[in-house]
């Protein structure tokens, strides 16, 4: 039986018909053409599908679409909406934290969820925040560096 849900993605309201077993990731990718959340495992193990849902980083492959009724969802597409890069995006570029790029959107969303609630994280808090995001290219170090430097920039800009 189809359900009709309404959700807010990147500041826009969408109403879509979904199957009961359909995942938020598939709705975003197939029905809304928002393809930055990636399919890496479909089992919540790799973090490539991470989006921010109601302020929290979630694996969108583990969220049933019907659970996202009235949810506010942010993907990496929204961070560049006004043509200016988010400090995290700029820091990822500058620190060499991007290689194949498949983990990058999810990684940035996990980092954003962290910095939104904890603007001055310790290195260990950063590592914990991205522990569910798999990366095979970078060796993680540049990613941790990028998140640290983005936090510093955001702190400065906010001050």
């Amino acid at each position: 039986m189809k359900h009709t849900i309404t959700l807010n993605v990147n500041g826009q309201k969408y109403t879509v018909d979904v199957e009961p077993q359909e995942k938020l990731l598939d709705v975003l990718r197939d029905k809304l053409d928002i393809t930055s959340p990636k399919k890496g495992c479909e089992m919540g193990e790799c973090g490539a599908c991470t989006v921010i849902m109601n302020g929290k980083a979630v694996n969108s492959c583990l969220v049933l679409a019907v659970e996202s009724q009235d949810a506010v969802i942010t993907t990496v597409e929204a961070l560049h909406a006004d043509g200016k890069l988010h400090p995290l995006q700029q820091a990822f570029i500058d620190a060499g934290a991007v290689q194949c790029g498949f983990c990058t959107p999810g990684m940035i969303m996990s980092a954003k969820a962290l910095l939104d609630t904890n603007p001055t994280p310790t290195e260990m808090e950063i590592k914990e925040a991205i522990a569910g995001n798999f990366c095979r290219c970078t060796g993680y170090k540049p990613i941790v560096d990028a998140i640290q430097s983005a936090a510093a920039v955001m702190k400065k800009e906010g001050a």
Binding site: C46, H80, I93, K141
Partner: protein
């Protein structure tokens, strides 16, 4: 190379903006509309069995099923070096997971349901799970028709056996040399199967239209090899098969050659003209695409009392799995690199590519080198421990230098290997006292050196087309894949350097075989060198055309002209400057009033100039490979005596890259290689139980995480120019993981006195060895 502007600069990656904004498109992101079908494969549950009967009638009758394909129809042979497999299994299955049938249906669920309705009758056969046993005359034969298969001239299949390639080296007189040695060590090592686990699983979409034209969108490292192998197998004219590859979400080798594409095109042919998508689940990815093949290595090294290596006798048994897309060439590479990066006058080496009933062995970052160095570098460590020689000094002393004779009898080119060994040791603090371990822990240090050549056929070539636009921006067409290593940025830098323009104005494209020039494959860390040479030629070609145009316009010799920051300038006359804009399309008017020129299109092509064949019996020849990238890595660890858990404290590495076109990119590759080397050295192992994968999920297949990375990393490089490389460059992408695991194992020995000869170095193995050590000391 001095005086370069953008070559040698750590400029920002050209693809970074697309990737941080979500704009970058990968194969699975491409949309094909509501007509698209979804494919699923029925796979063999048996490691080795005869297919007695296949009945697909129930599957075909299921509503929503649009096509079913099996080996009864699609049984043409395919293979890169040895045509040993069919598109779908035909008379036999040879590994668990082998595609037996495929279904294309309106939804994935229907396709999966239909697969369950296909009835296959098997007759199970005895199987082979050990590469050494594969050579036993009693072992079941996996490919009865090996002697009839088509194969490349540089591999040597042994008909009537399970050996798909046998490469041997006979150099000097090892038998007598060992007699002269003061110390001879012989040990056996084991490397398990791994899976590359790129974050993006394999995905391919094929569309076959009513005119017989086929388009394949695929997550591949090898668009032209795809076209070559698939068009040949399907008897299609090459210009009727178009392969398009968007960005790749990592590959590390498992997306080289042909894997799932062989199954999706037959379905698209039967469901024509609807596009058909085949996407691997993560579970399938682990054993149904390519794996890193296993290795059993027997290494014997002898040194004289001055610490000079006199002889080696190495035997490598590769567990190549059921088919050998790349295994035969990995075996060959392990032969011509069999000594590691050392000057060894007397060598006997035997490398066997063994068929087993395991998943198909493919290339993985390092192409056999992490595996053989795991053995060689530990035996060297054992020799150093036994004779009291310093592992750094010993390696530096025996390191190959320019002019030395390599294992295959060729002359080694200039190399910074010795410097790399010393630099890695120095950065680690090799000569400084170790820090004091916390209670219950021990500190250890280890080092390993390496070499690796691009392993490829002698005709692996590269093409480049460089097109100017009206505003003097450039579209650079190449077909080397950007899979994360940063090749697009490096190519933009090379083109910009030659053309005197900003690298940001060069847009490098992902390939479409209909429009992009030929590139053999994105493997072997060969792009910087090979594709870089083609791009440099294309840029030089365009530059020559531009300068000719301007020299005619000004009526002067082209030698007086240069291009700086997008302007043609006259070196002797500052009043003469001409923007590249406009002229690169619309030309310039001559003194006599005639318009000359037209769209500037640069063309470059490159083929390795001087690689020679090697003698079948001795493996000797003037030049086995194009070059070797060398390097070393040192590791400092702290290991817990009670739990065996290793804490990586410090890693220092140094590679001879010839010329770092983009130093930051080199550093990023190095850190990534250290990660992958540590991950494979500490954790990774695809567990196969009678051919069945036991840990094919990211939860069960353990990899290093952010928490496992070393506290300190010192990545460095030296630049001994590669004379035939673009600006002196040679590749370094894969090399960076080669010495990590043996350096780690050597550090564990240094800390605890236990030797782990079977990769990975797990806490369990350490504890086990410690127990043995304690029992032995009690007995004494």
């Amino acid at each position: 190379m001095s005086g370069t502007k953008v070559v040698g600069a750590s400029v920002t990656r050209t693809d970074a903006l697309e990737k941080v904004t979500g704009a970058a498109k990968y194969t699975d992101d491409v949309k094909f509309g509501p007509g698209m079908l979804y494919a699923k494969l029925l796979r063999s549950p048996h490691p080795h069995a005869k297919i007695v009967k296949i009945d697909t009638s129930k599957a075909e009758a299921l509503p929503g099923v649009r096509a079913v394909a099996t080996g009864q129809e699609f049984n043409s042979y395919i293979g890169l070096y040895l045509l040993d497999r069919t598109l779908y299994a035909f008379d036999k299955v040879r590994y668990v997971g082998e595609p037996v049938a495929g279904v294309a249906a309106d939804t994935e669920d229907i396709a999966e349901e239909a697969c369950k309705l296909i009835e296959v009758e098997y007759e199970e056969l005895p199987a082979v799970f050990d590469p050494e046993y594969a050579l036993d005359p009693q072992a079941p034969i996996i490919h009865e028709k090996l002697g009839e298969y088509e194969y490349a001239p540089f591999i040597f299949p042994q008909a009537g056996t399970n050996i798909s390639n046998y490469f041997k080296v006979r150099k000097g007189d090892p038998e007598n040399a060992f007699k002269e040695c003061a110390c001879v060590i012989e040990e056996e090592f084991y490397v398990p199967h791994l899976q590359h686990t790129p974050l993006e699983p394999h995905v391919a979409v094929a569309k076959y239209d009513h005119s017989g034209f086929c388009t394949l969108w695929t997550s591949s490292q090898s668009p032209f090899a795809q076209r070559n192998l698939l068009a040949k197998a399907l008897k299609m004219p090459y210009n009727k098969l178009r392969v398009i590859v968007p960005y790749l979400g990592g590959g590390f080798g498992c997306k080289a050659g042909v894997s799932i594409e062989a199954c999706v095109i037959p379905l698209a042919m039967k469901a024509s003209p609807r596009p058909v998508k085949l996407r691997m689940t993560r579970e399938e990815e682990f054993f149904c695409t390519f794996v890193r093949q296993g290795l059993k290595a027997k290494v014997k090294i002898g040194v004289n009392d001055e610490g000079k290596i006199l002889a080696m006798e190495n035997t490598y048994y590769w567990d190549a799995g059921a088919y050998t897309e790349y295994g035969v060439n990995i075996t060959r590479a392990s032969g011509y690199s069999s000594t590691g990066p050392y000057n060894v006058p007397n060598v006997k080496a035997d490398a066997y590519c063994c068929y087993t009933n395991h998943p198909v062995g493919g290339p993985m970052r390092g192409f056999g080198m992490p595996e053989i160095h795991w053995a060689i570098e530990q035996v060297i460590d054992i020799i150093c421990r036994k004779t009291g020689m310093d592992p750094v000094a010993f390696r530096a002393k025996n390191a190959l230098q320019g002019g030395d004779i390599t294992v295959t009898g060729g002359v080694m080119h200039d190399t910074g290997l010795q410097k790399c060994i010393l630099k890695a040791a120095e950065d680690l603090g090799w000569d400084k006292p170790k820090h004091e371990a916390k209670p219950g822990k021990r500190v250890g240090r280890g080092i390993a050196a390496m070499w690796k050549a691009p392993a490829m056929p002698p005709d692996a070539s590269s093409g480049a087309i460089l097109k100017f636009n009206e505003d003097a921006t450039v579209n650079l067409l190449v077909s080397g894949m950007e899979l994360g290593q940063g090749t697009h940025t490096v190519m933009a830098q090379i083109a910009a350097e030659v053309l005197g323009i900003a690298y940001e104005t060069v847009r490098v494209h992902t390939p479409d075989t209909d429009y992009s020039p030929y590139e053999w494959q994105t493997v072997a860390s060969r792009l910087t060198w090979s594709m870089g040479n083609a791009v440099k030629m294309a840029a030089e070609d365009a530059r020559t055309q531009i300068l000719k145009l301007a020299s005619d316009h000004w009526d002067c010799a082209p030698d007086n002209l240069d291009i700086i920051d997008g302007y043609v300038i006259h070196k002797g006359d500052p009043s003469k400057t001409q923007s590249l804009k406009h002229m690169v399309i619309y030309g310039l008017t001559n003194k006599d009033g005639l318009l000359k020129g037209g769209p500037i299109i640069g063309r470059g092509n490159f083929i390795p100039p001087d690689v020679s064949a090697l003698d079948k019996e001795t493996g000797q020849g003037p030049k086995s490979v194009v070059h070797f990238t060398t390097g070393a890595q040192a590791v400092e660890i702290e290991v817990d005596e009670e739990t065996g858990v290793i804490d990586i404290k410090k890693v220092a590495s140094c590679y001879d890259v010839g010329k770092a076109i983009n130093p930051m990119n080199v550093v990023c590759q190095t850190i990534g290689g250290i990660y992958m080397g540590l991950s494979t050295g500490l954790f990774e192992q695809l567990q196969l139980r009678k051919g069945n994968p036991a840990n094919n999920s990211l939860a069960d297949y353990i990899t290093a995480t952010v928490m496992d990375m070393p506290e300190e990393i010192f990545p460095s490089f030296v630049e001994v120019p590669q004379v035939d490389g673009p600006f002196g460059a040679r590749g370094v992408g894969e090399h960076t993981m080669v010495p990590t695991a043996p350096a780690l194992a050597n550090a564990v020995y240094d800390a605890l006195g236990v030797r782990i000869k079977s990769m990975p170095v797990t806490a369990e193995k350490i504890l086990c060895e410690l127990k043995v050590q304690r029992l032995e000391s009690q007995t004494v």
